[in-house]
Amino acid sequence: MKLPVYLSLIDESEKSLADAYRQMANAHGDEPDIHFLCLAHATQCEEHRAKLAPVIERYGTTGSGGEPERLHHDGVGEPRTGPLGLLRDLQDLYLLATLVDVTWVMVEQAAQALRDAELLQVVEGCDHETAVQLAWLVTRMKQSAPQVLVAAR
């Protein structure tokens, strides 16, 4: 069974996303909404990992064949500065959050096939929150983009 590979992937992705949100919060402290919401989202990602812990306990994390390494991603790089840097950073966050989101969907599919009610409940709550994070990132990027791309110096 390869589900443990994906449990490992989602766990690690949530951790990367939490780290990235914290990095963003620190780097863009002059944008209070981004600062505070990124910190809140980082906490949310950690909560997702806590909810996942008992599931990982049951299934284990590493499947055979070393897939976790191959599936590893690099998170986001060093934060940028300035209005354009902010927009690019938000886009990086968006890509990472998308990975988390779609990984939850895959895990959900497996949980359905396994008739694992406990895992399904975990997925439902976490994936909903990830979807809201994505919606917020889009909302914020849509607000920034015109000013950044047309009027910023």
Partner: protein, 788 residues
């Protein structure tokens, strides 16, 4: 003579400064609130000396009391309440009596335009000033485009002026960067109404205060902010069958002193309390399940979200007794007619929109909306805030239209004769704090500020002063006086005041009044409408058919154009003409063409403007402010049902810690309005509340060895103020300062040496949905002032 119909001529003494709410005229539930006509004339002027009385309404709080202005020899010499007005039945508060006309006629008035030459503001002609403005505006539009322009306005202009500015901003310049100081006072009222009901618009009316059996004031010190509305409540409290009163406020305000239950919550914890109240309603079966099923969506999610919020858990977070929460919930849950009012204690605090939406939820859960005495009032802080929201000078699309709905945008494009593309609608309008951030970053380089004083009213003032002083930003300020903000401008335009111009304005409960010109403005001062129209003419803004974008000659033309814009919308004004307003004292919208009666209460039929083609926006996630968007909104199929919305509790973002152990909260003084631009120039009001103070609980003061009257220094991570301390019954751990005290009447350099503006301390942060700044939850330390 009986109380009814009595005219109380208030002499030019300090009577009504001390007796803030005037003599009581008690009345029973459902009875007519007795008339009591308040009047004040200048010293030495007798009633017989008055040449004429001119119809108006008071512009010093969101109540908007109907009044007449006394004119003698071309000067305003007094004021009296209108007995036939539905808002005040003749009464006026101390601000209306002493600062409406007195504050306007003052030696400090600006009488000529000023332009900055070699760093100094010097008198100039209108042509010189307007040429400078137009030259810079044109150059920036050419070089960068509309995103280089920002407009920051007020909650105190007239409807006609806001509408002119909205059309100029959206269809002339084409910028999304428009907002008003309504963002600081009333944005959450609008946001919560849109989230719950689909569109802005106050569901209840003041007559509900006459009918109710219980009144809940959430973060609303009505006794100070709306003195005449509080007189109405006092008259109920002192009459037969008084309503139960529940008050949520960390301070023991005059309102809290009359409360049946006073919930003195820690600042920033409103949502925890509200989730517990909602939970109690559900847990005790006090909900109207049939009504909820038929008229709302979202019950399951709400019930799930509030489940953990037992009264005990909320009590711990909020610092109140669990039994008091239970008692408040019991009153709400078991009383037939409850009125709720909400104001800055919720709107300027953490999780503002989410907290305010819970008030809507309580009413929805009991089906208690649109019926006499079952009123819901998401209040405004400023007199014409409602107009700013309706017309869209705050950036919203005019007439409560939805920027994400292409048909709504096209309606405006057709009305204004421009391409839909001209009207910015790719994202929500830029909110005030973001607008100033763009100025700080240099991407907005033309900033036009009218009738407001951000150098005192915005958070973190040192930063705002820096932003306004930036040499590369061209700043225009239009006001009555040389405010702290105007002093930093490149061009200052002298504006006409209330009483010196004609226009309409709409109070917090949808009631429209006409205010007619009583006297000529001083010197070369012009009405804000004239100034905006002059700018549009000089910029040569045109419709696609070649005609001028704005061909209005005066206020009545602007008003008629607005009536067309409002046609068919929730705020329909087509049945309210200037002549109607001259005949009737105060008319509520909506009133459609041909109708002769007003709609007292919205949603009496349990139908809400939530269908996708009607709604003002598609809603937000209340925790993050993420747009729900058209597809998801359509999938929800609210279709006329109200939304029961909620968010998890997170608490304030700057909680007290070891270094800054106290919670700082700001608020209003009874005798002042906004930054005292007018009220500080009324001798009586200035004498009543001349300078800033700090309120502290006895234990907190004792811990620091402070006694009543000691001078203290309050410090946050952003700045400091120096003020004498008053020991009061405030919630321990919390300190309070009134927000009015800037520096226009202080010695030069007071910002540095003896700072008194509460916003030196406040945090730059805002609610994720309404974008209203958080003025109520900074962490501070307090110590004896050095050298004292």
């Amino acid at each position: 003579m009986t109380e009814q119909g009595r005219t109380i001529t208030t002499p030019g003494s300090r009577d009504r400064v001390e007796d803030v709410w005037g003599t009581r005229t008690p009345f029973g539930r459902g009875a007519h609130w007795p008339e009591r006509v308040d009047q004040l004339l200048a010293d030495g002027v007798a009633e017989g000396d008055v040449d004429r009385w001119v119809r108006s309404a008071c512009v010093l709080c969101s109540n908007g009391c109907g009044c007449d202005i006394a004119v003698k020899d071309g000067r305003m010499v007094g004021i009296r309440g209108r007995a036939d007005d539905p808002i005040n039945h003749g009464r006026l508060g101390p601000k209306g009596l002493y600062a409406s006309w007195q504050g306007v006629e003052h030696r400090d008035r600006l009488t000529t335009p000023l332009v900055r030459r070699d760093g100094v503001l010097e008198p100039a002609s209108w042509d010189e000033a307007m040429d400078l403005i137009v030259e810079r505006s044109r150059a920036l539009l050419e070089e960068i485009g509309p995103l280089s322009h920002g407009f920051y306005t007020s909650g105190q202009l007239f409807l006609e002026e806001y509408y002119a500015l909205a059309v100029i901003g959206k269809a002339g310049v084409g910028t999304p960067h428009m907002d008003g100081n309504t963002r600081l006072c009333t944005a959450t009222a609008a946001a919560s109404l849109k989230e719950s009901f689909g569109a802005d618009g106050q569901p209840g009316c003041y007559e509900d205060l006459d009918e109710c059996e219980a009144l809940f004031l959430y973060g609303h010190n009505m006794a100070a902010t709306q003195t005449v509305a509080w007189s109405r409540v006092l008259d109920r409290l002192d009459g037969p069958e008084p309503p139960a009163l529940v008050v949520v406020d960390p301070r023991r305000t005059p309102v809290a002193k009359r409360a049946t239950v006073h919930l003195a919550v820690n600042p920033g914890t409103n949502l925890a309390l509200m989730l517990a109240l909602v939970r109690e309603l559900i847990a005790n079966g006090w909900t109207d399940d049939a009504w909820v099923a038929e008229h709302t969506v979202g019950f399951e999610e709400l019930a799930e979200q509030v489940k953990p919020w037992t009264p005990e858990r909320a009590a711990e977070v909020c610092g109140v007794a669990a039994d008091d929460i239970r008692e408040a919930a019991r009153i709400f849950g078991t009383t037939d007619r409850v009125v709720s009012t909400v104001l800055q204690g919720f709107y300027q605090s953490a999780q503002a929109t989410a907290s305010s939406c819970q008030v809507d939820n309580l009413h929805l859960l009991r089906g208690m909306i649109g019926k006499p005495g079952a009123g819901l009032l998401q209040m405004n802080g400023q007199p014409t805030a409602q107009n700013n929201r309706e017309t869209g000078a705050d950036g919203d699309l005019s007439g409560f239209r939805n920027w994400e709905n292409p048909e709504h945008v096209q309606e405006l494009a057709t009305l204004w004769g421009v391409d839909a593309q001209k009207i910015p609608h790719w994202a929500p309008p830029t909110h005030a704090m973001q607008l100033f951030r763009y100025v700080e970053q240099g991407s907005i380089r033309f900033l036009w500020i009218s009738a407001t004083n951000p150098a005192v009213s915005l958070p973190q003032l040192a930063r705002i002063r820096d932003i306004l002083s930036r040499p590369e930003t061209f700043t225009v300020v239009q006001d009555l006086y040389l405010t702290a903000t105007a002093a930093l401008a490149d061009v200052v335009l002298p504006a006409a005041a209330w009483g010196e111009k004609t226009g309409t304005f709409t109070n917090t409960t949808r009631t429209v009044h006409l205010s007619e010109q009583a006297v000529e403005p001083p010197g070369e001062a012009r009405s804000d409408l004239d100034i905006f129209l002059d700018y549009a003419r000089r910029m040569d803004f045109r419709r696609n058919d070649g005609g001028p974008l704005l061909d209005w000659a005066g206020p009545e033309d602007a008003y008629r154009a607005w009536q067309e814009c409002s046609r068919g919308r929730p705020c329909d004004y087509t049945g309210i003409s200037y002549d109607d307003l001259r005949r009737e004292s105060g008319i509520r919208w909506p009133r459609r063409e041909g109708e002769t009666t007003s709609t007292d209460r919205l949603y009496a039929d349990g139908r809400f403007p939530t269908s996708p083609d009607e709604c003002e926006n598609y809603g937000h996630d209340l925790l993050t402010g993420a747009d729900v968007g058209p597809e998801k909104a359509k999938a929800l199929r609210a279709d006329g049902r109200a939304h029961l919305k909620s968010a998890p509790y997170t608490g304030p973002h700057e909680p007290p810690d070891d270094e800054y152990p106290l919670r700082f909260t700001t608020g209003r003084a009874t005798h002042h309005f906004h930054t005292r631009t007018k009220t500080g120039r009324s001798p009586e009001l200035d004498a009543a509340a001349p300078s800033v103070w700090l309120e502290m609980a006895e234990a907190d003061a004792a811990e620091r060895g402070l006694a009543d009257g000691d001078a203290v220094e309050v410090t946050s991570r952003r700045g400091r103020i120096v003020a004498p301390v008053r020991i009061t019954a405030i919630q321990p751990g919390t300190v309070f300062a009134p927000f009015h005290y800037g520096y226009w009447d202080a010695p030069p350099g007071a910002e540095e040496r003896h700072p008194t503006a509460a916003n030196e301390l406040t945090v730059t942060e805002w609610d994720p949905v309404s974008k209203q700044p958080v003025f109520k939850t900074a962490a501070v330390q307090v110590a004896r002032a050095k050298g004292e």
